[in-house]
């Protein structure tokens, strides 16, 4: 039998103003198990906590029921008080008579009645509480960053600078991500490569960072503090140790017609290539799909020319197995392909570009050497039309439902860069709204309109028509209330930001939840923006949602700090309120496994001794380090085998019974 103490808090007038504290305290004394009840002005104050400790000592209490504010507010406080008084901290129950009662009711009588009922429920539960002891698990002092864009690089640098080892796994042959493809960056118009490449080099040279480029994560198991990961390092066909990056092979390779991914297909590359001059690492890759040797067995010119004998056509994918304490996802994005919007003639006219293609064209190291031209005839355009919101802000059937957030700004940037370089070109921008919140962002856009004479037109484009080589843009001018036509030589589409392809599979591997747009979901949209709901998985950059570089870098640093919070610990203390299966009742149906959002449930074949009846059965087992105590399995289990410690079915039913008692 428990010896329960009930403590009713006034919270100044917050509770006492609406609830008759005296009445609640008195009726608490009559509840089963209660041996002591008291009231206090501010239970959470030092005085209030001292009163609890004294009562525990004087009355030999085994459990404490506090009728006060939300457990979100002070449950931890009172658990500490209990521990200080020598009780197990889980022998505390809170009845929320503030947020759930005094704050939302006016009538004193009914508020008092409700407070009494809430108090009763808490005491009924407390009667069934058992001491709980959190488990401990170790922490592998190494972090894995998946994706080597600016987000992944920044997170890795921050963790490495704090003294922990980090591996970056990057799918493409080089780190750098999209930022490496950009020309200048808003809002300051500094050159993207000039600010990015030093960071890429820092990452490569950092003692604590190892780069796995041209690599992917194949398998993830384990849990926070101790993930095991299989990394597939794809065969480069070039020995990384022997290659000195001279590039002779690239010059020699007779295949010159493969599309350059880095230039968004606007230029061609050889079969053996590095994506761009400042690539990190500066080690070529043989693209086996385009290589003559792999296609026909002949050629091998790169092998012959290579002075260090680095070319290795026999190289196989390598699987690296590693343990990590934390994983940071930084898989970024890919611009949506506008091909499905036939009205824009993308893919039909070479003079219709996406914004990223336009970045490449404006870049001095890009496919045209930074010269703006019409790819149809190599002439300089006289008039350019930019179209915003292509594929964004749409009904789910027609595109992406969200605003891509960066395209208003980069379109203003593009418009200004054109005007800066070629003041005689007419520049028109079609917009629905110009969305430029951010420090110095609206000023930036206004500069385009006011100082650079960029013609902003409110309205969408209906379609483009190819008229003897020029592009006739048919659009709405909503402020004039009419349809207008502009003849353009070049049209640039600000296409929506889309989550990287195949991240869904990665999300499943990590049991990290994703939204319907394949962006990773944060644990709390406001208060835990860089954590995934899955413990030990953190989010950095655009993989969580569209953002620009300043925001990406801020988030990357925040993710690093959160990851360090785990790496710096020697042991992780678990939450003891987790699920537990009763093997005698479990029928191995998999219902719980299917609903668990964290992948905490496994099955084992086990000999079960059911009242002397021994047989082998498949039974559910909860991994204590992974379970977050959400309770989904306890509801799903048809045989009543799953239960949540601290919130057992019996405890919850006791609360319900107490509430229904008249």
């Amino acid at each position: 039998m428990q010896r329960i103490g009930a403590f009713v808090c006034w919270c100044g007038s917050n509770i006492a103003g609406t609830v008759d504290i005296d009445a609640v305290t008195k009726s608490a004394a009559d509840e089963p198990g209660v041996v002591y009840s008291a009231e206090y002005q501010y239970m959470c104050s030092e005085g209030g906590q001292l009163a609890i400790r004294r009562a525990v000592e004087e009355h030999g209490l085994t459990g404490i029921a506090v009728c006060a504010c939300s457990p979100r507010m002070h449950e931890t406080t009172f658990r500490k008080t209990a521990a200080a008084a020598g009780l197990n901290p889980y022998m505390v129950e809170i009845a929320n008579i503030r947020e759930h009662c005094s704050w939302i009711h006016k009538n004193r009588e009914s508020a008092t009645e409700k407070a009494t009922i809430l108090m009763r429920a808490a005491i009924a539960k407390l009667n069934l509480n058992k001491p709980l002891f959190p488990g401990e698990s170790g922490v592998v002092k190494r972090a894995l960053v998946i994706g080597g864009g600016i987000a992944g690089i920044q997170t890795a640098l921050d963790i490495a600078d704090a003294g922990y080892e980090v591996d970056i796994v990057e799918k493409s042959p080089t780190i750098g991500g999209r930022m490496a493809q950009l020309d200048k960056t808003f809002p300051t118009l500094d050159c993207s490569a000039c600010i990015l490449t030093p960071k890429m080099v820092d990452a490569a040279q950092h003692d604590n960072i190892s780069l796995y480029t041209y690599s992917e994560v194949d398998e993830v198991s384990g849990y926070v503090g101790s993930f095991s990961v299989k990394i597939r390092q794809k065969a480069r066909s070039v020995n990384r140790e022997l290659c000195n990056g001279c590039g002779d092979c690239i010059t020699k390779c007779p295949v010159k017609k493969a599309n350059s991914e880095f230039d968004e297909g606007l230029s061609k590359r050889s079969a053996i290539y590095v994506p761009f001059a400042q690539a990190v690492p500066n080690i070529p890759v043989v693209d086996r799909e385009n290589c003559t040797r792999f296609k026909t067995g002949k050629c091998g010119l790169c092998e012959k020319i290579c002075g260090t004998k680095a070319i290795d056509f026999e190289q196989q994918d390598e699987i690296i197995e590693r343990e990590y304490g934390v994983i940071i996802v930084a898989t970024g994005f890919k611009p949506l392909s506008p091909e499905r919007y036939g009205e824009y003639l993308y893919g039909q006219s070479p003079d219709v570009l996406t914004s990223l293609e336009f970045e490449r064209m404006m870049n001095a190291a890009g496919p045209t050497g930074g010269v703006l031209k019409r790819l149809s005839n190599n002439e300089k355009p006289k008039s350019i039309v930019f179209i915003q919101c292509v594929g964004s802000r749409a009904d789910a059937k027609k595109g992406k439902t969200y605003c891509s957030k960066i395209c208003c700004m980069y379109t203003a940037k593009h418009a200004m860069l054109v005007k800066e370089k070629y003041p005689d070109i007419d520049v028109h921008v079609f917009y629905i709204d110009v969305r430029t919140p951010g420090k110095n962002f609206d000023e930036f856009y206004r500069r385009a309109a006011e100082q650079y004479d960029v013609n902003y037109i409110k309205g969408m484009v209906g379609k483009l028509a190819d008229e003897d080589g020029r592009l006739r843009v048919i659009a709405s001018d909503l402020l004039d209330g009419k349809q207008i036509t502009i003849d353009a030589d070049l049209v640039v589409l600000a296409t929506a930001v889309e989550a990287s392809p195949d991240v869904r599979a990665l999300g499943t591997m990590l049991t990290a939840s994703m939204d319907q747009n394949n962006f990773f979901t944060e644990a709390h949209p406001k208060l835990r923006p860089v954590e995934s709901p899955t413990a030990g998985i953190f989010l950095s950059g655009v993989c969580q949602g569209p953002k620009d570089i300043p925001e990406t870098v801020a988030q990357a640093g925040a993710a690093a700090v959160k990851a360090l919070g785990i790496l710096s610990k020697n042991k992780l203390i678990g939450n003891p309120c987790i699920a537990e299966s009763n093997e005698l009742l479990c029928n191995g149906c998999s219902c719980c496994e299917n609903v668990c959002p964290y992948g905490a449930i496994e099955y084992t074949e086990k000999e079960i001794n059911d009242h002397g009846n021994r047989n082998n059965r498949r039974v559910a087992q909860v991994n204590e380090a992974i379970c977050q105590g959400c309770g989904a399995c306890t509801v799903a289990c048809p045989s009543g085998s799953m239960d949540l410690k601290g919130f057992t079915n019996r405890q919850i039913m006791a609360e319900v019974d107490a509430i229904c008692r008249t």
Partner: protein
């Protein structure tokens, strides 16, 4: 027309069109796509807004009802799947379903044929379907 009669028409238009004008973000893509916009007094995006706002009376008198080609370019291109043509169509029906409001009458046919005597029969038939009850 009384406010409640107009509201009844609005409800009816929403019901038979199945379209939801509140989804419109006033981007103007429908009006930009519309091949008949030059002959309209109320452009498709504005038509949608009028229904949303409950300004039905001027729509009933609008030239747009008769100029819309039912080409469905606006429906095809609207990023928010609003289906402006369905709304135009529904208002047109609300007009022609009233006694004596047929837009095209049998007596008009000779005039058509005079205009172009190769005019296909099918066209006349579909014009009847569209403009008359």
């Amino acid at each position: 027309m009384s406010a409640s009669a107009l509201n009844d028409i609005r409800e009816e238009v929403l019901r038979i069109s199945g379209a939801n004008p509140k989804k419109c973000m006033s981007c103007g893509k429908c009006s930009a796509s519309c091949p008949a916009s030059f002959e309209m007094d109320i452009l498709p995006h504005h038509f949608v807004k009028n229904i949303r706002d409950g300004n039905i009376e001027n729509l009933l008198k609008s030239k747009t009802l008769w100029k819309c080609l039912s080409c469905f370019a606006c429906v095809e291109r609207c990023p928010r799947a609003v289906e402006p043509a369905n709304l135009v169509e529904a208002v047109r029906l609300a007009v022609i379903r009233k006694k004596g409001e047929n837009y095209l009458k049998v007596d008009d046919i000779p005039e058509f044929i005079e205009l172009d005597n190769e005019i296909p029969q099918q066209l006349i038939v579909s014009a009847f379907r569209k403009y008359s009850k």
